[in-house]
């Protein structure tokens, strides 16, 4: 489970940035006191337009960024006090994730398994399961630089799941991918849900949200403008479809 309470993130602005943004403010508020809960076995979607604060929130959940205030509990672990322990429970995947081009999938997967402290027996079993599931056996020993985008995405998925994390964070996981490659990610998200894992993903593609989401939150300019179940969202809709309703909520909160 992920429990977020009054999460806030401020970034200090340099003189150059103040000039760029035409402001005299010394800090920029990226996320402003947001709270939400992601339940195991459910898919939570964090929605928002570009620059809403989705990636900053995801980076705080994965402990890359230290929140200015508020609390984050990851699988019962305080992520601010014990970031290392929290990270061990997380699998993190973004659409812009790169891989080590000079290594082979086998080497990358072993490297991350070692970093997560996966035991040898567990690693072999988990690797076989994921390689079979993702059909990776044929290119496991090829250099990553020589793989297609789809193959690379499979390696990224395998890398995210090798330590069998109980919480998966996807930050715009399908951004920049073609439909066939994106399909692997969609399948992975659904698999995680079926295995009872806690899944949070950020997106601005409403068709994905419609397909996957159980709970959702919409943030805009760092503030939470909607939080509830997908069912609640559909029931409260004033626009004819999900995309129009999303745009309506954002426009209303400008």
């Amino acid at each position: 489970m992920i429990e977020v309470k009054n999460l806030r993130k401020e970034f200090e602005l340099s003189k150059k940035q103040q000039k760029e943004f035409a402001t005299t403010e010394k800090v920029a508020i990226a996320v402003d006191s947001i709270s939400f809960t992601c339940q195991p076995g459910r898919i939570f979607s964090l929605l928002g337009p570009n620059g809403a604060g989705k990636t900053t929130t995801m980076r705080m959940l994965s402990t890359l960024f230290q929140p200015t205030s508020g609390s984050i509990m990851i699988g019962g672990v305080d992520a601010i006090k014990n970031p290392k322990e929290a990270r061990a429970k997380i699998g993190f995947l973004t659409g812009s994730t790169g891989l080590y081009a000079r290594l082979t999938p086998n080497e990358v997967i072993k490297y991350f398994a070692d970093l997560y402290g996966v035991k040898k027996d567990d690693f072999e079993k988990r690797k076989k399961y994921l390689y079979d599931l993702l059909d990776m056996n044929d290119f496991a020993n090829k250099r990553i630089a020589k793989l297609s985008t789809g193959m690379k995405q499979k390696v990224s998925i395998c890398r995210t799941m090798i330590h069998d994390p109980e919480i998966i964070i996807f930050d715009e996981p399908t951004s920049g991918l073609d439909v066939i490659t994106a399909e692997n990610i969609i399948k992975l998200i659904l698999d995680c849900k079926n295995q009872g894992k806690t899944v949070i993903f950020s997106s601005h593609i409403m068709s994905e949200v419609d397909l996957l989401c159980d709970d959702l939150a919409i943030i805009h300019k760092g503030k939470m403008v909607f939080e509830g179940t997908m069912e609640d969202f559909r029931n409260q809709m004033q626009a004819p479809n999900l995309t129009s309703e999303f745009i309506r909520i954002i426009t209303e909160n400008k």
């Binding site: 290392k84 322990e85 080590y100």
Partner: protein, 397 residues
């Protein structure tokens, strides 16, 4: 965890062609290439000097015949020469400028009389200073003729040379061959170590920090349950190792030049080089080099962490090379040695200490000071690297 990161980064680095070039290929090649060039150039210079005919212009009346004969009949050891009689000095100067003549002599009208009267004859010698070595050639010929005339006068005056030589000096060198050669060529080795140590660190530093950020792999790495300091140490270990490998391969290049390519023939120099390449020397040298390479890595990492692209990091780090190469050149200057002042100047102290080490004249107290100074600087650089690496704004693009 540090070991896991180190192992992976090393594997990744060893598969990078650019790093392999700066870490292994260029350092191994540099010494044999420099030696080959040096030998070829000096060989061709001495060949040229021995075979080239020097055109000597002489402006003289019939009175100067004796001088011209002396010039023509000097032994062959002075090199091939052709004496050309010129009508006047204006013409002679022009021919020297055009390099048709290499130098010219104006023989005074009273030359023969001066020789008979045993008085000095004033000779004007014209040469072009831009033609290197020609003044030396002229001095060689003219001193030889002067010496012949002197001998003649001693004989005629019945003077024994010993009678007019009140003091005779026999200079004795108290320095060993190792000290002499070490002081002369000792500055060259640390210069190579610094240049290649720096370049050896540069590409891995940029690749392992800026490159990882640019490729989008750093964010993933930081979401693993590994502390940032462990990641930093693992990566830094590979950068330092790359710098040390570059230094080691420079030594391998020297070894190959001597053992395989047989480039050094002088047994005295060979003996000194074998003494230099002893286990004790290598141990002491690495003791000096290691903190310096850590310092280089510590200086490069904050820049590599800060830079947003490989190009940006390269454009900042490359000119920095000059800051280290210039002090490294101190080793080439004679007279500058490791003392209580230079031991406190970073990089300079390592260059001078290595030079003293090669000459076998290193003062252990100064070695310790140099080591402490470089280690302290390396520690400061590592701390700055950690602070920079821990700063979240630098970690994601």
């Amino acid at each position: 965890m540090i070991g896991t990161i180190f192992k992976k980064e090393l594997l990744d680095t060893l598969r990078d062609k650019r790093t392999l070039m700066t870490m292994i290929i260029i350092p191994v090649m540099v010494f044999p290439v420099i030696m080959t060039l040096f030998l070829k150039v000096s060989e061709s210079f001495s060949e040229n000097a021995a075979t080239k005919t020097v055109n000597i212009g002489v402006v003289a009346g019939s009175d100067g015949e004796g001088f011209v004969n002396s010039l023509k009949t000097l032994p062959a050891v002075y090199g091939k020469r052709k004496v050309i009689m010129i009508s006047d000095t204006v013409n002679m100067k022009q021919l020297i400028r055009m390099d048709s003549l290499q130098f010219g002599v104006f023989v005074p009208i009273d030359y023969e009389k001066s020789m008979q009267d045993k008085t000095p004859a004033k000779m004007d010698v014209f040469f072009n200073a831009t033609e290197l070595g020609m003044k030396d050639r002229a001095e060689g010929y003219l001193n030889a003729i002067s010496e012949l005339e002197k001998q003649k006068r001693y004989q005629e005056l019945d003077i024994q040379i010993e009678e007019i030589t009140p003091l005779f000096f026999d200079y004795k060198n108290v320095a060993t061959d190792k000290e002499t050669i070490g002081k002369l060529i000792g500055g060259f080795l640390p210069y190579l170590f610094i240049v290649f140590g720096f370049v050896g660190c540069m590409y891995p530093a940029i690749d392992l920090f800026t490159g990882e950020k640019e490729r989008g792999t750093l964010e993933t790495l930081l979401t693993t349950p590994v502390s940032r300091w462990q990641i930093l140490v693992g990566k830094m270990g590979v950068i330092v190792l790359s710098g040390l490998m570059a230094v080691t391969f420079t030594l391998v290049g020297i070894f190959l030049s001597i053992k395989v390519f047989d480039m050094v023939q002088d047994p005295r120099i060979l003996e000194v080089i074998y003494q230099i390449l002893s286990a004790k020397f290598l141990l002491m040298m690495y003791l000096l080099i290691i903190p310096m390479i850590i310092f280089f890595a510590g200086v490069m990492i904050p820049i590599a962490v800060y830079a947003k692209s490989f190009k940006e990091a390269q454009s900042i780090i490359t000119p920095m090379n000059m800051f280290f190469i210039l002090p490294a050149m101190v080793g080439f200057f004679p007279g500058i040695s490791l003392n209580m002042v230079t031991a406190f100047i970073p990089v300079v102290n390592i260059v001078l200490a290595t030079k003293e080490l090669i000459a076998g004249t290193l003062d252990i107290k100064l070695l310790i000071i140099s080591f402490i100074v470089m280690t302290s600087l390396a520690a400061i650089a590592v701390t700055i690297s950690y602070k920079r690496f821990d700063k979240e704004s630098n970690l994601v693009s």
